[in-house]
């Protein structure tokens, strides 16, 4: 709405009113023709497009890229957040349960019972780490010097006589098996879960046997053991407070000392399994938990004070990671959601990300634009009656609303102020350069 259409107060304290009104005016002027053209429509993914869900998401800061593995696909996608380019590989036979990067190589673990090491640049596999008796592999941890990878597997898949899960240490240089640790304890049920991580020469492992084990990661000697009587699934180190947090199928978070000997706090915080705990890398006092109950919660440490929670999914959540002040979480549900946590007590849903085979779509909330690398997976509807727009007009609108800038801006480390950008960028008004 322009200023002339708005009543302007006239009083002695005039300037602030003018300023406020004109700021609004400025905003209306910055609306581009294309934005106004797309008003009254919304863009969505075509119903029959197969969506992959997400199982593990990793942000690779050096290359400003997201790596995503999926719940309904064995493909690993790599999305360059600078250029919007999507690459992928299909080295595993079944779903890939975890992904991370070390030494410019992608480390993936899969239900096919193997760990793959793949070049980030060429996407050529370099190592396949597996043994005949290695079962489903949900997770792997990289040693701090990047010389080894610790794989976590459910070997009882292949050998029913085994009562517990297995951790193997593999040499990342030549792929040789360095050590194999059969975890003490017994499975509490038929369900399998667990997690491992390495810190300060110690390997921390939790398991569906309800145990936390701490090993010397160099010698493999067991240093500590504790039993929680909970099928433990996630673990998070909190070195700033000399604590570690573990969680599992009861929806409890347990805070204990880094030696693993004393439980300092136990709190039921989710209705169902807690699938991941994450410490904000730039804010060590902030921890995030996600759960099969579909919620994501933000905690302040060491008190474990709940700052905020959101219903991030109507289904199970499996994975969460951060990019600057954004949290990206996903799970069984077909869409991965992106939350702005600049204000920690009030996460704001910024966008959704959907992957399907060779395509993806980025759908920001409250915007008439979107971005996809393949417009044929999208359709457009009229807001007023929900009817589908078809033909040339639909294609025209899709082409008009598809804008890489919205993806780039959201993930930009500077987190551009959109209004500032508009005033300084001629191209937004659609004039060819």
């Amino acid at each position: 709405m322009s200023q002339s259409q708005k009543p302007v107060k006239t009083n002695n304290n005039m300037l602030p009113d003018i300023l406020n009104t004109s700021r609004e005016t400025g905003i209306s002027y910055t609306k581009t023709f294309n934005e106004s053209l797309c008003e009254g429509y919304h863009f969505e993914i075509i119903d029959y497009i197969k969506r992959a869900g997400s199982r593990s998401i990793y942000y690779y800061k050096t290359e400003h890229s997201l790596l995503i593995t999926h719940f309904y696909s064995s493909r690993v996608h790599i999305l360059d957040l600078e250029t919007g380019k999507l690459r992928w590989f299909d080295h595993h036979g079944t779903t890939v349960r975890s992904v991370c990067v070390c030494n410019q190589e992608i480390v993936t673990t899969s239900w096919d019972g193997s760990v793959h090491v793949t070049s980030f640049e060429s996407l050529e596999p370099r190592l396949i780490l597996t043994e005949k008796d290695m079962g489903r592999c949900p997770d792997a941890a990289i040693s701090p010097e990047n010389e080894s990878v610790f794989s976590y597997s459910y070997d009882s898949d292949k050998n029913p006589l085994l009562n517990s899960n297995t951790v193997r240490e593999w040499d990342l240089t030549d792929g040789k098996l360095k050590r194999k640790l059969q975890l003490p304890g017994t499975h509490l049920s038929s369900r399998r879960c667990g997690y491992c991580t390495v810190f300060n020469n110690r390997l921390f492992v939790v398991s569906n046997s309800g145990h936390l084990h701490i090993y010397n990661s160099t010698t493999g000697i067991l240093l500590a053991e504790d039993f929680y009587n909970d099928q433990l699934q996630s673990l998070c180190l909190l070195p700033a407070f000399n604590l570690l947090a573990v969680a599992g199928s009861e929806g409890n978070i347990y805070l204990c000392d880094l030696l693993g000997r004393r439980i300092l706090q136990k709190r039921k915080v989710h209705l169902h399994d807690i699938s991941q705990l994450l410490v904000h890398p730039d804010k060590p006092e902030i921890m995030i938990s996600i759960s099969f109950d579909g919620t994501m919660k933000v905690w302040k440490l060491p008190e474990l004070e709940l700052l905020a929670w959101v219903d991030a999914s109507s289904d199970r959540l499996w994975t969460v990671t951060n990019v600057n002040d954004l949290l990206i979480c996903g799970g069984d549900e077909e869409e991965t959601s992106i939350w702005d946590i600049k204000n920690l007590s009030c996460p704001v849903l910024k966008a959704k990300l959907v992957f399907s085979d060779e395509s993806y779509a980025f759908l920001p909330g409250g915007s008439d634009s979107f971005y996809t690398n393949n417009q044929s997976i999208m359709q457009v509807r009229r807001n007023e009656d929900g009817t589908l727009v078809e033909g040339q007009l639909a294609e025209y609108l899709l082409n008009t609303a598809c804008d890489l800038r919205i993806l780039k801006d959201l993930f930009s480390p500077e987190n551009n102020d959109l209004s500032k950008f508009r005033l300084t960028n001629k191209g937004l008004l659609q004039i060819p350069q």
Partner: protein, 462 residues
Amino acid sequence: MNTKNLPDYYPVYKDLADRMNTNHSDQKQKDLSPQPQPPESDPSISPVMLNAEEITDLALKHGFSPFQTVILLLKNAFEGHVFLTYQIRPDQLFSQGTILFQTKPEFMLLSFYKDLDQYKPGILESWKLLQGKALCLSGINFDLMIQTIIVNHVIRMPVSLFSLYDIRSFSDILSVNQQAMDQQFEMVLSGESALGEYEFIRRVNFIYAEKYKEFVHQLSMKEGVFLHYQRKLALALYPNIKTEEELDDLMYKKLVEEQVNRKYYDMEKSDAANQLDPVISNRIRKLQNKTKGLYRSVSKNCSEIHSASDGENNFPELNNVFLEANIIYNEYVSNYSDALLQYMRMLLLLSEVVILRKNKGYAITDNLQLISEFNRKEVLPKEDLKSVKRDLDSSLASYRMKSLTDYKMKFVMDDDFTDIHNHFLQKQMDFIDQQIIQIQKDIKEVLKMKSDVSISKTSKNQ
């Protein structure tokens, strides 16, 4: 500025035809008796593809140097690759250029270099054949020679430019480090990929501007006006501004300030470039020197435009090339990837102007320094190479976004959308017109309100 229709690759059949024509006219000068058959009727110079042996024989028969023959063999492998991969014949390659212009563009030279290992054994066989036929070709490092041709991007150019180059400079005794050579090759791939992407974006821009020129120019002007008023509105809100005159004065003052700040910003930018790691700045300087050499060659090959009298433009293509060369040469370079793209663009321009001159029958300025020493021994840190690729990707992604390439592509590639786009461009013109009218009204209203308040304050004080 359009240099886009200029061929950027000189095929083998043209090289051979040139030489035969030269030999033919030389012969004519020597012997005034009628010639038995003109060279144009020779089937070997029509745009058919020859095999390596035929090329070697023809090259030796018509007096090409062994180095020129090797270049011809490499070009022939490239043309074979293009035909097998894209079903494009050498004559089509000559007229259409090395970028396959489609929604997902193909950069043919890049594709060839990526598959070079498949073609190298064949070229090596031909080299051995050549060694058997020509004298004094022992002691030559074949790999170094091929690498030099590729690293210096010789393949685009007519081989006649390399008649004086001494093949003995690729001596076996020169020490090379394979890793350094591989890195140089990697850099060639990055450069070709970046150049292809850059040229594709430019071409989309160019075709779009041509196809919708009716609106583009007007929209651009209107947008300038609109931005002017946007700034004016923002300044109208300054507390002391109450009249049009005061506002105009302030606008002028701000304009001057902006100019000064821009100069200061440019100085800061050049300072930032100087603050780079000395090893990297040295690398950038070396590459810029090569670009400078290319720039001089381009300028020399545009010399006709300097001798043209005022207002006369008998050489529009040369004029465009020269202006383009100046734009490229004066562009600000802040890192190695900028320098690499600048070098590649200048190189492309040089190949275009040289081929243009060949086509028009103009003489090509001699002594083009096209083959230079390259780093055969020093291995660069892996991270440096990665950062060059990253920077190139990032700046090209920005250029693509700024140019709205993905948006324009549909209206450039698909003629079915021309009418509907014209329709909406007209709507867009109306939209900006309305915005301009509205913003003008708003500026007036703001000034009026401020002046009313000022009067009311004064009367209250009285």
